[in-house]
Symmetry: C2
Subunit: 167 residues, 2 copies
DNA sequence: CGAATCTCAGCGCAACTGAGATCG
DNA sequence: CCGATCTCAGTTACGCTGAGATTC
């Protein structure tokens, strides 16, 4: 936990965890739940502030990067859904927004008429590169507080939360 | 990273990080950004599924717990805003929902007429205890994959993302 | 026919803005 | 008067549910 010396208890999360422990079991679970909620919010706000001037948010940035990584003609909606771990209708919404902005295109699957393939446009690729450069140069917003070791450790721990089974 | 043996590369986040590294610097930052996004979503969905039968979500649960920890007559809205790290109008909304459900009450501050104090009701306290028991027994949803060591390590790392300065 | 894929409308939650009231 | 606190109305964003159309 944080420094808790001589009444200098100032972090609200640790303070809440202390109170939890007085009445309930599983204090480390509660503390980590709260820390993950706050930590995600801090990171997301910082990164979204960096992306906003580009007309992107975190979801759009992630989708754009996924598409920029793809060599094929495009990704099916269901594949995007699995990669981003969101619901299918959210992908429809997200692709609609990026398509309006001219950053992605929908094309028909040559063999299966049910699936529509989403591909990045040249403008989308340019914007994805700009966004990547901005985030990397800033150290990814609030994540810049970490040294390389801390980033690896955090990434490794968080990996265990994902059911990796989606190849 | 995850096991990456003989073409058995199956985790989408690590796969994306591999592609990022081909073109951009800061691969560990990108990987951790993605891992934090996915990890938070997995945790939040699991916990909210546990809370839904109680009529709670993650925000309401957190506020209810904060109030159950408070010995004073209640917390001012600005204090709740700082503890939860959300916007003031979101607190108004949140307290309104919990108040409708009879879980919290607003009372006037005895000395400062500007502030309204939010206090938990007996029904709110009973529900908070039930929620705490359910979460603790489940190991906090997806966080149950961690041993105590992992929880502590994750909580410690995430702590560094917060500007703790809010006493 | 059943199963898969995708779209869409409707809902809820939450952030944000700006206006206004009240009070120190 | 200035500043702080809080509420409210209105807008926007976005994820989820559920229903439906289309195609395999």
């Amino acid at each position: 936990m944080a420094e808790d010396v001589a009444g200098a208890r100032r972090d609200p999360v640790d303070e809440a965890a202390r109170r939890w422990a007085e009445r309930h079991p599983g204090v480390e679970g509660f503390r980590t739940l709260t820390a993950l909620t706050r930590g995600y919010a801090v990171m997301a706000r910082g990164v979204e502030a960096l992306l906003r001037p580009l007309g992107l948010n975190l979801s759009r940035f992630e989708l754009l990067m996924m598409l920029s990584f793809t060599r094929a003609a495009g990704l099916p909606m269901t594949r995007i859904r699995d990669l981003l771990m969101v619901h299918g209708s959210s992908v429809t919404y997200l692709v609609g927004r990026l398509s309006e902005a001219g950053l992605v295109d929908r094309t028909a699957h040559p063999a299966d008429g049910r699936v529509s393939l989403v591909a990045i446009t040249p403008a989308g690729r340019r914007l994805a590169d700009r966004a990547a450069r901005i985030l990397a140069e800033s150290g990814f917003g609030a994540l810049a507080v970490f040294e390389e070791d801390g980033l690896v450790a955090l990434g490794d721990l968080l990996e265990r939360l994902r059911p990796d089974a989606l190849g």
